[in-house]
Amino acid sequence: MSCCKIVTEKAQQVLGWVDERFPLTSTYKNHLAEYYAPKNFNFWYFFGSLALLVLVIQIVTGIFLVMHYKPDASLNAAGVPVAFASVEYIMRDVAGGKFIRYMHSTGASMFFIVVYLHMFRGLLYGSYRKPRELIWLFGMAIFLCLMAEAFFGYLLPWGQMSFWGAQVIVNLFEAIPVIGPDLSIFIRGDFVVSDATLNRFFAFHVIAIPLVLLGLVTAHLIALHEVGSNNPDGVEIKKYKDANGIPLDGIPFHPYYTVKDIFGVTIFLIVFAIIIFFAPEGGGYFLEFNNFFPADALKTPPHIAPVWYFTPFYSMLRATTSDFLPYLWAFVTLVAGLTAWSVRNVWVRRLCLVLVVGVYWGFFGLTVLGKTKPLFDFAILGIHIGRGFDAKFWGVVMMGGSVLLFALLPWLDRSPVKSIRYKGGLFKTILTLFVVSFVLLGFLGTKAPGYAFFGLIPGGPVAAVSTILYLAFFGLMPWYSRLDKTKPEPERVTSK
């Protein structure tokens, strides 16, 4: 008894010593023991902590992979690229290497699954709304980093898909007017994807992007803990506090959510283990079959597909053909027209006019800048509307833009309520259409361009319609979110 007392006293002295020099206790209180989270988190709230878990898995397994992996595109004695062979070396000769590698390759796909579900949670409950705009923006930056990280990492096994995927994506930068061709050489460090590309992608994958990613995750969490978590009811728990200033509907993150998240982690690990131990290739979606062929610059695969997590955006790039541009312009005109009509401000109206004319000129009127590029004649409903740039450039704009659109959500959503629980049928319908089109785009992106559903319904038009629906979810949000018949929000959170 007295012995325990001495130990406790000693521990407190040490803690006191530390606290005078570093805010250990206060940090622990601010972020865990006295960080009050709403008590009504549901299933969708597991994915934030799971994303953090996957990040840790990727970093730890990545460290061990780097110990054995060799970023070297030259051929070894057997005629196999050293980088490719070093991955197989890890799989066969490194103790436990097979599991480390499978954890890392599966982890990449799981990262995106978890992050997509985490973002969908934000859409469901309006987590991006005031005052959480910056949390959302940091999250968007994390998402972009994650895409870059996955893209750079995918080159490293130096298989056919690694090589040709990188070739296709870097070539996209060539579509940027004037600087494009030089820019793509600058990125590759060569005229084709080569050893130079492999080494710089390795550097970005293991040092540059992870550093930025960790910084952004920290910022995401600091911002979250500053304003507090949203919840499935979309109401602020800080509105009703007890005498001690503690939110009535809040519970300390630790121990309540730590034990709950540990349960979530075990369920996640079960799914993770099922993939790693029984289907590490994920049916060709997580590890593409073609990537078991070493990279060969002389052999273009018949069908180059990015990994599944990029395919929704890749699909939109592919859908942006010269046939599609007139419809896209019509859509931009519709949104600009609606904006000019509903915002009674002369400068906004002028801006809308500039946008419509600018996009028209960009699509169909670029005869001056476009001299070096093939020009296309465009027609809408048979009426000649002009000549413009190669649609490839607009495809690239579309691919980048469709990712960045998420960042605008905090300012596009004009609904009086945050949570889908109190939103009306209009929003629910449009959100459903958005999810369906996102999934369809993702599915079509894994298929060759001529794919037809059941061999009957051509994928091209489906992708075109899905792209418009995807854009409409964002572009028309200011209007449909206001038109939507919402229900009144409750004052306090509801239990379950």
Binding site: K39, N76, A77, A78, G79, V80, A85, E88, M91, R92, D93, K98, I251, P255, Y256, V259, K260, I262, F263, V265, T266, L269, I270, A273, I274, I276, F277, F278, E281, G284, F289, N290, F292, F293, P294, D323, F324, Y327, I380, L381, T432, L433, V436, S437, L440, F443, Y451, A452, F453, F454, G455, I457, G460, P461, V462, A464, V465, S466, L469, S495
Partner: protein
Amino acid sequence: MSLLNKLFAAAALVVTMAGLPMGAQANEGPTLDKAPLRFDDASLQQGAKLFVNYCLSCHGASSVRYNTLTQIGLSEQQIKDNLMFAADKTGEQMMVALRRDDARKWFGVAPPDLSVIARARASEAGSGADWLYTYLRQFYRDDSRPTGWNNALFPGVGMPHVLWSLQGEQEARFVTRDDGHGNMVKQLEGLELVKPGSLTKDEYDEQVADLVSFLTWMGEPGQETRRSMGWFVLAVLSVLAVLSYLLKRAYWKDVH
């Protein structure tokens, strides 16, 4: 405009598609025969024997070490005595003596390393094993090819039919068909055995199945162990899941 009609049709489709499974689809490309894989030691050893005798003279398996074969029930001595023709130590990799430049001269292409070929050849049409099983049984005589051999699954293949003494010689039957655009094209209809080899058709199929089983095993040695470990890991995680759920419930008793 036709695109507009297509857009409307597709819009209707998008709405109805939501609940439909997307797995069903029309796949173009060859139909593959299902490889009857067997992972017992006897089959894998037979496959290893075929691989070392027929494949390893040109194709390396540079990621595989000879002593990996101890996993299929062979002793180091047995490996040394029966399977190692181009290496001194059992820890060495399965390399080829053939020079890559020579091979390129003779076959037009250096024979690829086969360490992970069974994984690489997988596609929507079937597993890599199915592809290999079909491929190794579809060589036929073709005098227009430099090697005198062609393949129904891999037209214009650089490799001659290495297993011909076992299978015998096949000849292709062609039919001339309209390709739907008014062009008459020659299409391969089937293969016929014109000169039997040392094995019957069934025996040959079985030998190829053993070889393909071995190639599949070689693609990831110890994949059986991985799966059996998986059950253990799942059992541990399930216990952990139950315990952590009970812990959560205990902590959350006072939250209302």
